[in-house]
């Protein structure tokens, strides 16, 4: 029983960050129809920015966290302006290849800048874990979880209750019609990519201090993000949020009670099963065609 409770607690903590990774990616795919292979690198970028700010310049942890996210937003906006803006309307294959190229270039730049040796980032939380009866969890992870939840709700509010959000939703439904109605699709795209990238950087900035930062850290994160997005349905924020938690629970309990060797395969098995019954994912609305 103790073991089961610990697994559940771990899954909840993990799910928060999975959800954060997922919503960034689902936004970009849903609205821009871009398969964003740089998502994992933005995650790594967030972690490395925390390293630079906290460990190198000695900035306050919480200020560094905010700044790292802002820098992620800026990098995302730059990527969109430099690479994707010119490709609007281009073949999905072309865009995909460009994004794969950007992914490789970014990862190698990280390696060049910070070498392959993993770096650790200090955090201001107590080293002793929070003990609740038979289970325990690091304070750092508790902070990560609640910050992730706040960011998820903030994104949800932005999409549903702001003018920019309305423009984004319109573009998602039908970009041509939205353009005819006076929505500036170019700006919506830049904003979307910047917000999505900022969320990835936020996940990296939050998890960097929990784990360590290293150049290839984004690969596994991106894999999970893709899984979550497909699970929840492309373009659906509640889908990505719930998908993140489902993936975390399946991984935790699968590893705990079936086999830890298949921990990372569990999520993908689940996706296959869900797609068999719901080909568009759990929560996606049908796309309007025509």
């Amino acid at each position: 029983m103790d073991q089961f409770l610990q697994h559940c607690l771990n899954a909840v903590m993990l799910g928060g960050t999975y959800a954060l990774l997922g919503i960034g990616l689902t936004l970009i795919f849903g609205i821009m129809k871009v398969v964003n292979f740089t998502h994992g690198e933005l995650y790594a970028f967030g972690a490395y920015m925390m390293y630079m700010l906290v460990m190198r310049t000695g900035m306050d942890f919480f200020a560094a966290l905010v700044l790292a996210i802002v820098l992620g937003v800026i990098l995302g906006a730059l990527l969109e302006l430099v690479l994707l803006r010119k490709l609007r309307g281009a073949d999905i294959d072309t865009t995909m290849l460009v994004m794969i190229g950007a992914w490789i270039a970014l990862q190698n730049t990280e390696q060049l800048a910070w070498t392959g040796v993993a770096v650790s980032i200090n955090n201001p939380f107590p080293a002793a874990p929070l003990v609740i009866g038979p289970v325990s969890v690091a304070w750092n992870r508790v902070f990560v979880f609640f910050t992730a939840i706040v960011l998820i709700f903030a994104t949800y509010a932005l999409i549903n209750h702001t003018k920019l959000g309305r423009a984004m939703r319109a573009t998602f439904q039908d970009s041509d019609t939205a353009a005819l109605m006076g929505v500036r699709i170019g700006n919506v795209n830049t904003a979307t990519f910047a917000i999505g990238s900022g969320l990835a950087a936020a996940a990296g900035a939050l998890l960097g201090p929990v784990f360590v930062a290293y150049p290839s850290m984004g690969d596994l994160a991106a894999e999970k993000a893709f899984a979550i997005v497909i699970l929840g349905g492309l373009g659906s924020i509640p889908g990505a949020t719930i998908g993140g938690f489902i993936l975390a629970f399946v991984e935790e309990l699968g590893a705990g009670y079936i086999s830890s060797g298949y921990r990372d395969a569990m999520g993908f098995l689940l996706i296959i099963v869900i797609l068999l019954f719901r080909p568009t994912g759990l929560f996606a609305r049908k796309e309007r065609i025509g």
Partner: protein
């Protein structure tokens, strides 16, 4: 008088010219310089380059200089095969050193059979490498079985009653947990749960919760330093009481102290070189000089336990070339069987392993156990 002096210099130059013009002997090195194992691969490459410089400064081998051709196998088996192919067929190297991870080495092995070129294996520890009948393999690092045997004598002293395992899900991790669990069972130790993890994974909460529930007094961990760092931290978060012992020698205790901090205290590590007390190893003079050189170059001290492999590997290869008398794959393959090299790990020479008639060569290296205590590495 002056003119005659000039003539003699010119004459000397004329005679020296053929020797200078001789091409250096190329040695192929394939290491993971990028990707998951980038840190370790770069350290091995640094150690190898230090060996290259030292050997060339003392006149090279067979009157020629040596030249390392270092390729990045990107921590990826497919890329590893491509680097071996490139080094052998394009650069025409007569001998290789590589490829750090067992999985990468195993991927390259069929190519060695195909081209009949020998490879010195400096790090990999999976048993399969020397038992699959590949006569072009010369391994200086210990197998997991050798490590387990070396540790067998210490089981009583540690007072291990029940052991659990956490290993990376590849040839290295699975091989080690098998060898160690067998050895422990032979000593009457109860083996609890054997957990595995993806080599790229960063979160081990599920595995650790299961290990905690299993309740062994000792947890054997086999993976590279990046994951060990995270396991030490997360074990502390989950209040795991078991003593942690890491195997495989890619555990860089210095890096653990730096990155896992307090969580590293009390952990034990099997290593093949003890740069913290170089006087304790067999060839202390060589080890001391290597450590001093490494530090003089401002290389990361955490990399010493990897870097020495590159140094020992290149020295063994060059000794093989010297004994062979020529830089050809076949001659070097035969000569390597006869070498006796004073290395940093100890005296290197090869014994036969694997099926009769196509044995691989295996060195019997020294294995040490160290402990991290109050942020310092101490002798156990």
């Amino acid at each position: 008088m002056k003119i005659r002096g000039l003539y003699s210099i010119l004459a000397a130059l004329a005679f020296a010219a053929p020797a200078l013009a001789q091409e250096p002997i190329k040695i192929g090195v394939t290491q993971p310089l990028t990707g998951a194992f980038a840190a370790s691969g770069n350290y091995v490459a640094q150690g190898a380059k230090m060996a290259e410089e030292a050997i060339n400064a003392s006149g090279g081998v067979l009157g020629r200089k040596i030249e390392l051709v270092i390729e990045d196998n990107k921590s990826n088996p497919t890329e590893a095969v491509a680097t071996a192919e490139k080094l052998i067929s394009k650069d025409k190297v007569p001998v290789l050193m590589g490829a750090w991870s067992s999985t990468l080495t195993l991927a390259i092995m069929p190519k060695l059979m195909e081209y009949e070129v020998p490879m010195l294996v400096e790090t990999s520890s999976s048993g399969k490498i020397t038992t699959s009948g590949n006569p072009y393999i010369f391994r200086i690092s210990p197998t997991s079985e050798m490590e387990a045997k070396a540790f067998a004598g210490m089981v009583k002293r540690f007072g291990i009653k029940k052991a659990d395992f956490l290993a990376t899900n590849n040839d290295f991790g699975l091989g080690a947990s098998q060898e160690f669990s067998q050895m422990l069972k032979g000593q009457g130790v109860q083996v609890g749960t054997i957990e595995t993890m993806d080599p790229k994974a960063t979160d081990f909460s599920a595995q650790l919760a299961k290990i905690k529930a299993s309740g062994g007094d000792t947890l054997f961990v086999t993976t590279a330093v990046e994951q060990i760092t995270l396991i030490l931290k997360q074990a502390k978060e989950q209040q795991l009481k078991a003593r942690i012992i890491t195997t495989g020698g890619s555990n860089s205790p210095d890096q653990l102290i730096q990155q896992a901090g307090e969580a590293a205290n009390g952990s034990y590590h099997l290593v093949f070189f003890t740069p913290w007390f170089p006087e304790a190893v067999k060839n202390a003079d060589i080890a001391k000089k290597f450590v001093a050189d490494w530090k003089a170059r401002n290389y990361n001290v955490g990399g010493l336990t990897e870097g020495f492999r590159g140094w020992d590997g290149i020295h063994t290869i060059v000794e093989g070339i010297r004994v062979a008398g020529k830089a050809e794959p076949k001659a070097i393959t035969q000569a390597l069987w006869k070498v006796k090299v004073k290395g940093i790990n100890g005296d290197i020479h090869f014994i036969k392993q694997g099926p009769a008639g196509k044995e691989s060569a295996q060195n019997v290296p020294s294995v040490y156990v160290v402990r991290i205590d109050n942020g310092k590495v101490v002798k156990n």
